[in-house]
């Protein structure tokens, strides 16, 4: 039975890399004594895949992994069993079973929401809400947003405007224009002393992938604000797949009730 797990990654866990998060979950499943399906052969591994790697230093309220299970307890019980063997800073926030025909989440991913916040003890002109709101509007009204994309061999000018679906200066404004609800379920696992300055929805996945750091850097340049990456905390808020009706949070996509 295929299942999808939504989890948070915060605090000191921001410094654990993607591959290590994978290993962490593999061991957590064993500690929770959950009957995971394994591949065949001499070194069997758990049938587990992650939707999108999160860079070191970023935090998240919405990381996803897909897993194949041999057992099927209710989603709440499954989530509790896993949380019982985890630490505070990586927690399961959602659990759902998937249709047999479900696409791997990596392939289904089309967009991600991000919060950009100023770290405690740091400051930025973007904290001036009216300023940032105005700049965000103007930023999105441009015909093109060109950035220099550096590869190993060359440098290309790329227009990322199409990949920036929404942008707002506060979570409240963002919730309105992007129609999402983020402050349910006990709030965010972002450090309370971080000051949110920007929210955006960006194209993600195998077709187009826009990195939040790139957008922030370009936005700062546009706004005439010096860019210092050590000032900002980038926080992933949600991941989306696409249906005919628009964007759907990953936890709902291909989901099935048992």
């Amino acid at each position: 039975m295929k299942a999808r797990i939504k989890f948070t990654k915060a605090g000191s866990m921001r410094f654990i890399g993607h591959l290590d998060v994978m290993r962490y979950f593999q061991k957590a499943m064993r500690r929770a004594e959950i009957n995971v399906s394994y591949s065949q052969g001499f070194s069997p591994h758990q049938l587990m895949s992650f939707t999108s790697p999160l860079g070191i230093g970023l935090s998240s309220d919405a990381e996803y992994l897909d897993i194949t299970l041999e057992e099927t307890d209710t989603p709440q019980v499954m989530a509790d069993r896993i949380n019982a063997v985890m630490n505070d800073e990586i927690r399961v926030k959602g659990f759902t079973y998937l249709k047999d025909s479900a696409k791997p989440s990596m392939a289904a991913l089309v967009a991600c929401d991000y919060i950009i916040a100023v770290k405690p003890g740091k400051s930025s002109p973007l904290e001036e809400a009216a300023f940032t709101k105005e700049k965000a509007c103007k930023f999105m009204l441009q015909d093109k947003i060109e950035v220099l994309k550096k590869t190993k061999k060359s440098e290309k000018l790329i227009d990322i405007k199409q990949g920036i679906y929404n942008m707002a200066g506060s979570l409240k404004d963002f919730e309105e224009i992007a129609s999402g609800k983020f402050t349910e379920n006990g709030g965010l696992c972002l450090d309370k002393e971080c000051k949110t300055v920007l929210c955006c929805r960006l194209a993600s996945g195998s077709v187009t992938n826009i990195k939040p750091g790139l957008v922030l850097e370009e936005f700062c340049r546009f706004a005439g604000v010096p860019y210092d990456e050590t000032v900002y905390q980038v926080h992933r808020l949600e991941m989306y797949a696409e249906t005919g009706g628009g964007f759907v949070p990953m936890i709902e996509y291909d989901a099935v009730q048992l």
Binding site: S12, R30, T230
Partner: protein
């Protein structure tokens, strides 16, 4: 949602600028969490190498678990910061901190440093320095932590004696609680540091270097090792945990976030060894052999796998084939865990029917190797070192394995053994080739492709408390010549294409040789090497032989003195003040036996009266006739 955000010692910026920031954040699954206000003693355990190496060490886990069982003690951990963080800590004046509380090491009551190999000595100074602890124990002020060393190198602690307040000689399970109790009493008394050192010196197994004065002869050898206070005993007796099935062993080991060298559950099945190989220090130090009971191991195996979620379990001991219940234990592990996708990693086994059977059950024979450690290339030299493995054992074992589908063989040898001749070295190439020839006697249709033989040699380093402690060590030049000779001989063999030869670094082995049998005069050398920038000497890319050479020169210390002399039979060694049970007389007799090329049988075949029986446990009292007095080797 208010989640508990651990407050880290290092800022985000620093963590994001170094390699593998997870090394410095702690918070691992099963980490001990205690309220500092509730504990009386803060103990910091240190492995003086990088996190991934330190976290693989079982000894720290045992002590960590044991100390944290007590409510009044909080045991935390610290490892050597990697070179990138080392620089930042110095530049920004950030004191080295323990992982659990993220608080400075200098605020602890104790800093315990495990000494697993000589090449980590400069890292010890790095940890002290970065913590802000005075390097010289004699100069430490009131309120600084007591620095205590333990582990195999503590059996000759003299080259680093100046930096430690005390050493714990032997197995950690026995006397730590008592030491902690005495410490609490002392702390409440308000008396000075020296007072505590005197109290500690009275405990069995505890050695306080400040209370002993080495006196040297004109030729540099030790004339006397004088205790300076009545509390310091003339001999410090090593600690032995006699009941390994009734003592501390972790049930919930720490689970690191990053991949560490030993990323699996480790089950120590026994301690000690019956074989008496003459080059082997561990075999002598940990006598007598003491097994853990099958029921203890089964219970722990289950607990540890459940509490960690590791996908692999391994057995650890010096000679696992000598564990009497090995068959039952391994088959039980396979039955119990194989279906859960848990890999059973087998230790090096004597190749017999049982070994081949289990190996085929847990490993892909096409990918795994057969391991033999003949150590010497001819039977003559194997007799000299008392390594009982015969050519027939190897060739027959290899043949059985080849028939079972294996085609990879690993062979371990040493170069520079006492009494070695070029004929013995050639024997290594010949033996490797003979194994290949065995393989090719199997008809082609039944073979699994080519055979792959990897022959490795390391450089023999004479160690204290072995029969070879009197023996000179080869020079770097001799080592290189022998290595080149062996390489040429391997190339001459019929099946040269099937044999790959690897050799250990001669420079590093030299330094290891000096410290292994070193004396207190070397403390200054180590200090200077550290101050001139030597660190992570066990890592080839960081080892700086020139700086070491300079440090020796500037301190009038001669490496040759420590390495090339054949010791006089009555020479007083810097480590003779330690009593490991096995007597010096026995070791000298064994040295003579090695020169006569005679073999000494293992403990279970016949007791040789080595002296370990004074501890009255393990193999010394196994199945014994109580009417016959124990041979204490006197």
């Amino acid at each position: 949602m208010d989640i508990y955000m651990r407050k880290l010692a290092l800022s985000d910026e620093i963590l994001l600028s170094v390699e593998k920031p997870a090394r410095y954040i702690g918070g691992e699954i099963n980490m001990a969490v205690k309220n500092l206000a509730d504990v009386d003693i803060r103990f910091c355990m240190c492995f003086p190498d990088v996190y991934e190496i330190g976290m693989s060490h079982l000894g720290i886990q045992i002590i960590y678990d044991m100390l944290n069982l007590r409510d009044d003690i909080y045991c935390e951990r610290v490892y050597s910061p990697w070179t990138d963080l080392d620089k930042i800590l110095r530049d920004k004046n950030i004191p080295l901190f323990a992982l659990e509380s993220q608080q400075p090491v200098k605020d602890f009551d104790f800093l315990g440093i495990t000494l697993q190999y000589e090449m980590c000595y400069t890292n010890i100074l790095q940890v002290l320095d970065l913590s802000g602890i005075t390097l010289d124990a004699a100069d430490r002020k009131e309120g600084e932590p007591f620095v205590i060393g333990g582990g195999p190198c503590a059996y000759n602690p003299e080259p680093i004696a100046d930096f430690f307040d005390m050493f714990y000689i032997g197995e950690g399970e026995t006397v730590y609680y008592e030491l902690m109790d005495r410490y609490k009493e002392w702390k409440a008394s308000g008396k000075g540091r020296k007072e505590f050192l005197k109290i500690a010196a009275k405990l069995p197994g505890i050695y306080v270097p400040q209370f002993y004065q080495p006196v040297y002869n004109k030729d540099g050898t030790l004339a006397e090792f004088k205790p300076l206070v009545p509390e310091a005993p003339a001999k410090v007796v090593k600690q032995v945990e006699c009941s390994l099935s009734e003592t501390y062993y972790p049930e919930k080991p720490l689970v690191p976030y990053i991949k560490v060298t030993q990323d699996r559950v480790v089950l120590e099945i026994q301690r000690g060894c019956i074989r008496g190989c003459r080059f082997c220090q561990a075999g002598m130090l940990y006598r007598p052999i003491r097994p853990r009971s099958l029921s203890f191991l089964k219970q722990r195996a289950k607990e540890m796998l459940k509490s960690t979620g590791h996908e692999e379990i391994t057995l650890s001991s010096l000679s696992s084939s000598d564990y009497k219940d090995l068959k039952e234990l391994v088959y039980w592990l396979i039955d119990e865990f194989k279906d859960q996708g848990i890999n059973i990693s087998l230790p090096s086994l004597r190749i017999d029917e049982f070994a081949l059977d289990v190996m085929s059950k847990v490993q892909d024979v096409r990918k795994s190797s057969l391991t033999f450690a003949p150590e010497a290339g001819t039977q003559r030299l194997r007799n000299v070192i008392n390594k009982g493995l015969t050519e027939d054992d190897i060739l027959n074992g290899a043949m059985e394995a080849f028939k079972g589908g294996w085609n990879r063989v690993k062979l371990y040898f040493m170069l520079g053994l006492p009494g070695e001749t070029y004929n013995d070295i050639e024997g290594i190439a010949v033996l490797s080739d003979q194994i290949a020839r065995q393989y090719y006697t199997i008809p082609k249709e039944e073979r699994n492709g080519r055979v792959n033989i990897v022959t490795s040699t390391s450089i023999f380093v004479p160690k204290p408390f072995t029969p070879f402690q009197w023996s000179p060590m080869d020079t770097k030049e001799q080592a290189r010549q022998k290595r080149d000779f062996l390489l040429s001989k391997v190339r001459e063999q019929l099946n040269a294409k099937s044999i790959k030869y690897n050799c250990h670094d001669a420079d590093v082995s030299e330094l290891e040789g000096v410290f292994a049998r070193g004396d207190r005069k070397l403390c200054n050398v180590i200090r200077q090497a550290y101050e001139s920038g030597c660190i992570y000497d066990a890592w080839t890319e960081y080892f700086q032989p020139d700086k070491w050479e300079q440090a020796f020169k500037d301190n009038n210390a001669d490496m040759e003195f420590y390495l090339r002399r054949e010791r006089a039979e009555d020479e007083l060694f810097p480590w003779d003040f330690i009593d490991i049970g096995v007597t010096k007389k026995f070791l000298l007799d064994e040295y003579h036996n090695s020169q006569a090329e005679t073999v000494t049988p293992n403990c279970r075949r016949q007791c040789s009266g080595c002296g370990a029986a004074k501890f009255q446990c393990g193999v010394c009292v196994e199945n014994r006739d109580a009417t016959v007095p124990l041979d204490l080797g006197n």
